[in-house]
Symmetry: C2
Subunit: 169 residues, 2 copies
């Protein structure tokens, strides 16, 4: 796993963006911050981030994985058809798709959860179940190349597992 | 390295507290959030944290290391004699002392930098030099059991190095 996209939009959960960025960099993985074209964003608690590139200007084939953070950013992200197709293309090409917290909303709109084992923040459990997912309440759930977690406390296990799944491919 | 204290006070640099906490937990290390007795604190960008215990109620001998974050928290932390003696006792017992950014102010007041190789955020370089330190501009500097870094971008190298120094002891 050499190159991973981290999706951002306003109201992202601050740690769910920054912990993966820093931890993947420790592993020597290139991390690209992919936004929706606004340029800069603020987290739920106000931590700023700049996008490296807009999702409109990236090819899924250039990435080995994507991380979808929580907070309310996923409610914005899923409004962009290109966000959803970008995630789906990475998933279908075998790249690692990591989603935490409310990130599951993007998985739903990307159309990749039916019949899959997933977890998420408990508030959106019904949305995942209604989309056909098999919901589990665990700190991290792996189904093939799909890695999901529930909340910021799960971040150590979440990113460690993304790295492991990425190495095994 | 089994048990590490992370010092907190208001205006802590959000990532410089939370990245070490989460990354050390990934390693199976117990992390204890040590404050000054206020109970709860907010980072520079507003991220909240609760202390597990006040520095007045801990023994240095119960810890294998301590992390001192930046932001303006160090300006508050160094006002507490028990913060400075806690850091000095851990250092003198051979525990790992990690300091990033403005954390160097606490190293100065703990009296442990004279003749030591250190780095910090460039704004407090003069304070470290005046305290007798040998200043270097590198993402991470190791001198014995003292590990220092400059800024949030250095976090992947900073915590990785703390873990390595902790294992080698």
């Amino acid at each position: 796993m050499k190159r991973v996209a981290v999706l951002v939009e306003d109201l992202y959960q601050d740690l769910e963006v920054w912990y993966p960025i820093l931890r993947l960099r420790e592993e020597g993985i290139e991390v690209v911050v992919v936004g929706t074209g606004k340029g800069s964003y603020k987290g739920k608690y106000g931590y700023p981030i700049e996008e490296d590139v807009s999702v409109e200007d990236v090819k899924a084939s250039e990435f080995d994985g994507v991380v979808i953070p929580g907070g309310y950013a996923p409610d914005f992200l899923r409004r962009y058809p290109r966000v959803n197709s970008f995630v789906r293309e990475i998933y279908e090409s075998g790249g690692v798709v990591g989603s935490i917290c409310h990130g599951g909303w993007v998985l739903i709109s990307a159309g990749i959860v039916r019949g899959k084992r997933v977890t998420s923040f408990f508030a959106i459990r019904d949305d995942l179940v209604n989309a056909g997912a098999n919901f589990e309440d665990s700190e991290v759930v792996v189904d093939g190349n799909l890695v999901t977690s529930r909340m910021p406390d799960d971040l150590p296990a979440f990113v460690k597992t993304i790295i492991e799944v990425g190495k095994s491919k």
